[in-house]
Structure formats: structure tokens, C-alpha cells
Subunit: 709 residues, 2 copies
Amino acid sequence: MANNKTEVRRILDKVKAEGRTSLTAPEGKLVCDAYGIPVPKEGVATSAADAAKLATGMGFPVVLKIVSPEILHKTEAGGVLVGVKSADEVQKGFDTIMANAKKYNAKANLLGVQVQQMLSGGQEVIVGAVTDPSFGKLVAFGLGGVLVEVLKDITFRLAPATREDALSMQDGIAAAAILKGVRGADPIDRESLARIIENVSLLVSDFPEIAEMDLNPVFATKNGATAADVRIVVDFKPVPPRYRPSHDDIVRDMNRIMKPDAVAVIGASSEDGKIGNSVMKNLINGGYKGEIYPINPSASEIMGRKAYKSVKDVPGKIDVAVFAIPAKFVPQALVEVGEKKIPGAVLIPSGFAETGNVAGQKEIVEIGHKYGVRLMGPNIYGFYYTWKNLCATFCTAYDVKGHAALSSQSGGIGMAIIGFSRSAKMGVSAIVGLGNKCDIDEDDLLTFFEQDDNTQIIAQHCEDLKDGRAFAEVAKRVSKKKPVVVLKAGRTAVGARAASSHTGALAGNDKIYEDVFKQSGVIRARSLRDLLEFARAIPVLPTPKGENVIIITGAGGSGVLLSDAVVDNGLTLMAMPPDLDAAFRKFIPPFGAAGNPVDITGGEPPKTYQNTIRLGLEDPRIHALILGYWHTIITPPMVFAKLASEVVEEMRAKGIDKPVVASLAGDVQVEEAAEYLFDHGIPAYPYSTEMPVAVLGAKYQWARGAGLI
Amino acid sequence: MANNKTEVRRILDKVKAEGRTSLTAPEGKLVCDAYGIPVPKEGVATSAADAAKLATGMGFPVVLKIVSPEILHKTEAGGVLVGVKSADEVQKGFDTIMANAKKYNAKANLLGVQVQQMLSGGQEVIVGAVTDPSFGKLVAFGLGGVLVEVLKDITFRLAPATREDALSMQDGIAAAAILKGVRGADPIDRESLARIIENVSLLVSDFPEIAEMDLNPVFATKNGATAADVRIVVDFKPVPPRYRPSHDDIVRDMNRIMKPDAVAVIGASSEDGKIGNSVMKNLINGGYKGEIYPINPSASEIMGRKAYKSVKDVPGKIDVAVFAIPAKFVPQALVEVGEKKIPGAVLIPSGFAETGNVAGQKEIVEIGHKYGVRLMGPNIYGFYYTWKNLCATFCTAYDVKGHAALSSQSGGIGMAIIGFSRSAKMGVSAIVGLGNKCDIDEDDLLTFFEQDDNTQIIAQHCEDLKDGRAFAEVAKRVSKKKPVVVLKAGRTAVGARAASSHTGALAGNDKIYEDVFKQSGVIRARSLRDLLEFARAIPVLPTPKGENVIIITGAGGSGVLLSDAVVDNGLTLMAMPPDLDAAFRKFIPPFGAAGNPVDITGGEPPKTYQNTIRLGLEDPRIHALILGYWHTIITPPMVFAKLASEVVEEMRAKGIDKPVVASLAGDVQVEEAAEYLFDHGIPAYPYSTEMPVAVLGAKYQWARGAGLI
């Protein structure tokens, strides 16, 4: 059934014409009718007798509610009576409500009393819609009563939501089991409820002026779902569209910026300690092979290269200009960059919005738009693109090539990324500072890395998303191809306040981030360390082909902790088939435990690890292995590391490639063993039973989101 | 009002005499009356007319319920009618219920129908009691309806519970806000509800034969609380008392075992690779200064020491015997240890309960009891006590003296403890393997470490507690003096299954562990890494004197993540008083952010860190500092580490000692800086914004539990 947009438009036009910000209940009902959202039988009575007649027509019990555009919170006003059971009671109720409403707000325009068929039975749920400054229209779902109010057990999806989204929302709340029927109650009609969710999400998408909508409660029964109460708030102020280049333009410009053939350094300097000097050194010593043009009005040569007064004086084409000059000189230089048709400016300088200089930031944004120059920053450390040996930054050089692309909103976090990467010998394709994000943001980077063959995983730290909707759209597409991991800082109220004071970030409702990330296939890192470890381990692991995980452990104690971690990380321990159980038992001592974990016991020689790991890889019913190693004299750490790597490589040669991770319990020699294992494709961690399972869990989360399992 | 034990005894005797396992509703009511638990007015009717008369007497509405010892789940049987509003309805209801009950269970003995005053309004809650195999009697509390059933929002305390326990339970559920009144509802009468909780807990403690008790629902209003339904299940099987030496005996024996003057090694060997050889080597090379007596029937000398055929042949006193012989020889040797009056046996051998040899384990336990020999293990790596240079283990020696005492149920986890300790240069007082815990367990260790001057923190890994009640009692006392950290493995259903197969551990209901740990002042580690990091950092940190935490950060981005971590770890960012805010502002650039976090911004020289840290320590309103360092050329990592350490030491010299932790964002040099800071009393972590706050949070949790803040 097609939705009746004309009818909704008519109603909204009337509301707008009358200068109202909300719809009356009868208007709300008409809107619901137009979008196929079931509502109870009802009518508006202007007299007690009228009310009684209406009620008798629809059958008892009924609900009586005041109708007044000025009274939004009807219960508070004493304007609601439920369970009214006879014509006589209805007459009395009418009078009571009108009197209460008058007392509550003497100026309110009382249009009458709504008489409504009273719904009962089934489960009370809430369906709503909100407008978020970053994500735009979202549809919300939760259970009625205290669950939403006290426990905040609510879930969101970007509107419009698909049928799958609408169904997944019904599993996305903590109290989901209630909808399936508890204590002998009937399960609710999921499809009917999903249709309401879908239609609400369509409605607010079709009519952006609907700022908020609440169906509370919706009675969901085994035979359907009906919205008992409708509240619609409107806002007719037009929302200015966000500047957003086309996909092709982003790809073209970002490729020139990230993989430039020629770089200009505006504010290049020969003087040690100057940022313009650090940038020059990093470019040259980093081994960048393209052209480097120092720009400095008062020098003819810098670090052995001819210097120019302006980028406009450079004879050749320039792909990106790195700014190392004070904020106040940026606008003029940026105009010259624009006139030179350079597609990108890397704005290292601080002194813009983050210090209160909002006007200065607005000015450069406008210049950027005018000339089509994409701006990175301002207030950043710059960026690295290792496969071009490019260190366009004033920090230390970084040159370990790899396949993880990282970015951070904050410079401090960027330095932590660099330190961790170097310490863990993590190869990266790029490290990018985004700072104030006045233009280039996370979705631009995703768009670039999506098509960058040197990048296999994208890990991003952010304090907000300037355009959450654009991010979600791009992430949804990109995450199908490459894992996207995000650490969203400002998760808590206290953190959000700090973010707002740090970068002016609008941290927003964290539950919305949580749900939208999930909807977009984004893996959410819970901590800085997780972001870094995921970036390091996920590209090393092959994609699992199914959900059957087994633990093979020498240390029974590790087996228990690894099992806890399996649950924590949303993985599933395979129920061991009897034949496979028997096959494992052949290799382990009689007092070892097969089942899952396979406990080979501590005193076993290398052969036992070897045989069981090989069996785990060979059997096609098993999809991933978690190894628990226990340091003993009989199987020392490096012996274990080598044998595990050998078996994994032997199987890879046969075309069997399953994710394998390892937890190493032992003396300090396990640290060397962990490094060896990591180098051989087995993410391994000493003194931790959590991290190996967390990285495997992250890989699985990605594979599921991308539809690969 | 004293509880009427005689009355309860009379009722229970009757139930026992009649061979029943549960009480009827009227019996339940009498028990409640005897213990001051308010219940509604009620009576039992044996005819419809009778029921109507009773109901009219107590006023409508009423509830009707079947009375039958065979029908426990009355609703399921169609044996309950609520909201019965007139004498006529009561008569009909009586007949319906009797008919339903007969249909449900034709053999049930129907004693009549209970007519009960119907309670309404207020909040429905549940108070109950259960009997746990490890913890014994526990009182439980939760909200009625789906919250307990679906969300498992329930909290436990050991019975008997104090008034404080009972009040804390009302804050201990996720939906606690509901009790305080939401949406204009009245807050409930906390004291009345607490009295019910207390009395239930007293009742089950006074009468251990009450196995289960359920008051469901209890109607809690602003004026009181009344239990609408009572269910009591009894079990008259006597529980055998657990073997438990007196506190003084434990202290005396554990001191001789842990700090022995003479050690016998049963199964000592000169042959490389034998466990008895490793133990000898570790004792000798570890630098142990006491007597070492090798015991071996077929050697006269081992490693330069006279060997004896039996401990009975040793002329002097022996404090502990380390067993390095196969399981089958243990019982005989243990008898000899008993006859020699050695107070402790360290049973390294495996091959007991963990391999199914339950009888063998029972045998040695009986020998231990008979001779008063305390048994450590079996199936362990042994133990270390560094302050005696004692390595009574077959693993590698460990000799970094310190103040953390660690133990593990599993050998693999023990090896992880050793590896981590060595890698992190963590000083320990002891590392102990507990294995099968046939005798010595966590509470024996707590009792020893409580009075051990070399120990400042006790960190334990366990898969179960053989006697949770004893543990809780000891932990509650010990944790007032020294922090006790526990990693309980088998937290999840999957982990619990693995634990059961690993050590036969009865992992139990994790929520009970959670609540009892909290009630006992125990800090719960969520991961192996947390256990280790807490053990390392907590003794380094001084005890905070109040809740006001501030963050001083160079990296704004770290400030945001640190703020999130503050919330995650139950800490409170101080609301910055205006004068203090102004004082900080004097030291930081105008675009830096005071408030809290104090964002000094990235480009600042050492002086800024110095000034702000000093101010943070000097101002008495501030109780703890979290530092966020950002690696820059102007303030390199070691410069920061030294200045921060200097300021902290300068203040300590003035008698100001506050906990300070640091998160270091930067290139690899921050690793050296972190080590330096740690050595100078500032737990510091590179590339992590979570761990520094987690260890501070753990210290706070301890200080609060011990009543120090």
C-alpha cells in the first residue's frame, strides 16, 4: 500500500500555516493512517453526551484524552482517563478532564476530548523518531515503561530503515526476550511491528520537518501492533545542505593529496626547530621520491632545493601543499594554492576554531570551497603515506610499510599511534591527522582507502563525526570490502564534556553511535589499546568461513579464561562432534580433556601441539583456532612458536587458511615467541588470555557485517 | 521485636514430620509473622460461602489462591484469581479455582482457597533466599516482573545481611532508580523494605533447613512493604561441616610452611630433568638460607647434601615437605610427614582428582586431617616466598623482592604470573600454586598474608572457591588492611563448563561471586592482564584521601579518553572551584582549557607540566591526579618523566602523598619514560588511556571498601 504523501503534506501545511510546532492527536492519527500505521478507533467529542455516544459505538473500555495544541503532556495536566467502562462514566470523565485541563493551563485552547478504543494485552512498546545534528533522521525502538526510561534500553537505526533493520531492532534491546514471549505469553507479531518501524522511518525521511515522533505506547500482540498514542513535533526551519563533493571528485583529489607527485611546503625553513624545517627534513629523510618545493618569501634555497616566494611561482604541477605558517597567514597562502589549482592543503597550524577563532576557520573553509581545494586539518600533525615514503608531518619519520591505515582527530593520539606502530613493528599504509576537520573528514579517508590497494584495514579515532550520515553511508559500503575500526572518544557524559571543550566536538548520544556503527558494519574499539591491536592483528588474520571456533590449550587454566573471552567477544565454541572428539583424544593423554577446549595438558611434547593443531586446521568443520600455550621445559616457547607456524604454513600451502590466534602463558621467553608467531600470521599475546580472543572476535564481527559468513 | 524462633521451629517440625519439602501458604504466612515480615490479611476458606464471608470481612478487592501442598506453581495450575471485587465474584472464583486445580493435578490434596487482601500500588519487588554450595545462605533482591526474569537484574548478599547490606541491595540493581520514584511516583520506604530483607536473611540463617524462600511479589510503597506471596522450600538433610582449623592454627602452620627454616624435598634427585632435581636446584640456586634435606631411599647424597631415606630419619625439625614423587607414592610419604610432625606438605604431583583419581585425593586429605598436616595442591608448581629466597617449585627461580603476593589455581596462569612479573620487574613477596585445593585454599593464604609484613597486596586467580563463605569472612577482614584482588575464571556459562572439566570447579552463579566480592571489599579483576597490572600498581599508589580526581593533560585527545575511563572505573572528576580554575589558568596558554581535564595543550614546555602538577598536588581539595602526556620536541618523554617524578618526590618530602598515574602518548621513547615513572611511584602506561585509570580506580575501590574514604 503506497503511503499517502499528499495527505501528510496537507496536514503539515496546515500546522505550518497556523504557526504550530506540534500536531494534535487527531492530526497525528491522520498522519498514521496515511502511512499505514495502525491506530485505535477514535473520535473527538465536544460534549459529554457526544463522548458517551462515540464510546458506545466503538465498545468499552475506552480512553479519554484532552485535545489541546497547548497541552503536550496530557497526563501531567490530568487530561487522561483510562479504562472508562460505561457511558455514564464517560460522561463524568469528560467533565473531569475539561476541568483539569482548564486548571492546568487557563489559556489553553480546549478543542474537546478524544474518545479512543482502549487497547490492552500484548506488550507495550515504543516506536519513535528523532533528528540528530550529525546523523539526521533516526528511528528508535524500545519497550514501554521503565525499561526505556530507567534502563535506557532503546535502539536506533538510520531512517529510512529497511525491513531487516526493523526486525534487527527487535533483537537489539537487552529485554528482547520479552518480545518472544516469557512465562507463557505469546510472542508478538514481529512483522507487524517491523512495518510500523519502517513506516515511521519512511515518514520522517519523506518529511524532514517532522523533528520528533513518538508512538507510545504501541500495543504489540501476536496478531498485530497498534499505536495507542501519537506525538509529532515539527520544525519547519530549513536545514542548510552540507558541502559535499561527488564521490569521483573525492577519489580524484584524495589520490593526488595522499599519493602526490609533487609537494609544496609553505613556510619551509632551514632553521632547526621550526615546523617548516621539520616537515622538509621528514620529506627528504623519509625518502620521498617526488618533487619537493619549499615556499618561503625570504629564501632562495632551502635544504639544497630552490625556494619559491609563492606556489604560483613554481613552474610545475603541485598535488598538495603542506602549510607550516602561523594561522594569520593561512588565508592568503590558501588563495594562492587555489589559484595554482592545487587540490589539497595540509593545514598543520593551530589557532583556528580550537582556540576560539571560529571566524578564521570559516574564512579558510570558504576559500577552500571557492577554489575547490580540499583542506586537511587545521591543527594537525600532518600525514604519512608509507608506500610513497611520504612523511608530510613535523613529527618523527615513520617508514614501516604495511596495510593498516590509521587516523586520529587528536595529535596526542596520533603520537600514540606512531609509538605503538613502531614498538609493535606494525606496518602501516598511512597515518593521518584530522584535527578540526573543517573539511576532509573520516568519510573522505574511507573513500580514499577503499580504493587504495596498499590498505587492508582502516582504523580511526574520532571525538565526533561532523556528518554522521555521510560517514555511515560510506562506511556501510567500504566495510563490505575492508574492515573499518573506530574508537569513538567521548563515549560517556564526562568524556563528551571533555571532547566539547577539546575540539568543540558534539559527542552526541552514544547509543546512536553504537547502533549506527553496527548498522554500518563498523567494528567499535572500546579502548585506544583495542584500536591499535585490532589495526595490527586484523589484516594478519585470514577471513573465517564459519562460526565454529575451537580452543586447543596446554594450560587448562588458560582454557577457562579463553572460554570466558570467547563469550565476551561474541564468538561460539563449536559443539564437538563425537568423531572429532575421538580424533583429538587420540593425541592427548587419557586425563586430558577433549571436548572444547581441547585440553592437551601441560606436560606434553611438541608433537601433541603439532598433531592437535594440524587436526584443527584439517577438519573442515572447524573454522578458527585459539591456542593456549603453557611454557614447559619439554616444549619451550620458541619450539612452540616454530611448530605452530610450520603447521599453519604447511596447511596454507595446501590451501587451508584459517584464523589462528595464541595466548602465551610462561616466562619472559614467551615475548620473543609471540613476536615470531605474529610475524608468521598468528596474532599472539604474552600474559593475556583476552587480547587474542578480542582480535579474533573483531575479525569475526567484520566478516559477519560484510556478509562473508 | 524479637523473632519468634519457637513458632518457626514448631512449623518446620510439622513439615518434617509430614515428610513435606515445602510449606503451605498459611504456614508461610505464620513464619513471616514470626519474623516480623508484613503479609496481607488473609484466611483459608473451604467453601464458596466461607470465602465470600472472609472477603467481605477484609474488604475488596481480594486475591484467591489454591491451597495445596502438591501445587507449588499456582498460576500455572489456574489456581490464582486477582482483583476479585464482590462477594458474588468470590463465590464463583472459589469454584473455578478448585475445578482448575483438580484438572491440573488430580492427585493433589486441595485444602481450600486462600482469600487474601489484595495489595496494589507502589512497586512490586522480590525478596528471596537461596542456598549456594560454596557460599551457603544468601538473601536475594530484585524488582518484580520481567526485570528479574529477563534481565537477571538481581542482587545477592551473604545471610545474615546487615541493615547496611539490605539498604545497599536497593542500590545494587540496574533499575535502582525505580525505587526512588520515576515519573512522579513516590519513592518507596527503604527502611521497611530493608527490614524484610534483613529478616529473611536472619530466618534462613537461623533455620538452615530453609533451602529456598521467595517473597514474590512484595509490594513496596512509600509507607511500608508487604509480602503478597510466600514460598518456602525446605531440605532437612544435614550439611556436613567443613574441616577448618582455627585462625591461630592456620597462622602458626602457614608461617612455618611459607617461611620455613628447614625444607625436605621428598623425591629429591641428582638427575637433570627430574622434578625433584629442579626443586633442589631452585632451592639452592635461589639462595635459600635454611636447611635443605633431600629425601630419597636410594641415595646418600644429592647436590652436595646428605640424603635421607625418609623424613623420619632427619635429625632436626622440618617445617615443610615438598613432594616430587609420583601420585601413588604420596600417601605413604605423607604418613611419614605426619609422624614427623611436619605442618605442611607441598604436593607438586598430579594424578589426583584432576585426572579422575578422586579416591586418591580423598585418601591424602584424610591423612592430612589425621596428622594435622596442611596440604598445598596437589597438582601444582609449588610456591615462592622471595623474602626467604625460597623457590619451592620446579619452575624457574624468581627473586625480585616486592610486596605483591600472587596465587593461582592453574599452573599455566602461574607461569604467566612469573613471566609478567619478570618482564615488568614487578617485585613479589610470594607466588603460590593452589591446584586442586584439597586443603589449603585462598582463605588460608589470605590469613597468612594478612599478618605477613612483606605483603601489601594479595592477588588471586581462582576457578572456584571451595568454601566461599569462609573466603568472604576472611576477605572482609583482610581487605580492610590490604587490597585483595581476585580474577574469577569461569565467569560465563562457557567458561564455567571449561572450569568444571579443568579442575572440577563448581563455577557457580557469577552474580553471587560479583556481589559477595563487593560485600567483602574484594577488587574483582576482569581479565588476567588486569589482575597482573593491579598487583603491580596498587602497592605503588598511596591511598587517596577523597574522591576528587583531576586530569592534567598535554594531549586534549587523551583528556577525552581518560575522562571516559574515569567514568568506566567509577571515579569522579572534581568539579573545579573557580579559584582553582583561575590558578590553573595562570599556568596554561589562553586557548588551553582549564576546567577538568586541565588541558595545558601540546606545545608547552616542561615548566607548564611542572607548575600544574605541583598545583594539583598542593591544593588540598584535590585527592588524585591523572596525567596525560603528549610527546613533543619541547618536552621529550624522559624530561617529562623526570620532572613529574621530581614534583611528586618534592611533595612527598613535605608530607603530601597523593596517587598519581600517567598515560603516555608518544613515540617509543615513552616506554622508557613509563618505566622510570613507575620506579618513582607513578604507575605509567604507554599507548593506553585505559590502564592508568583502571589501576587508580582499583585503588579507590579498595580504599572505599576498607572505609578509608
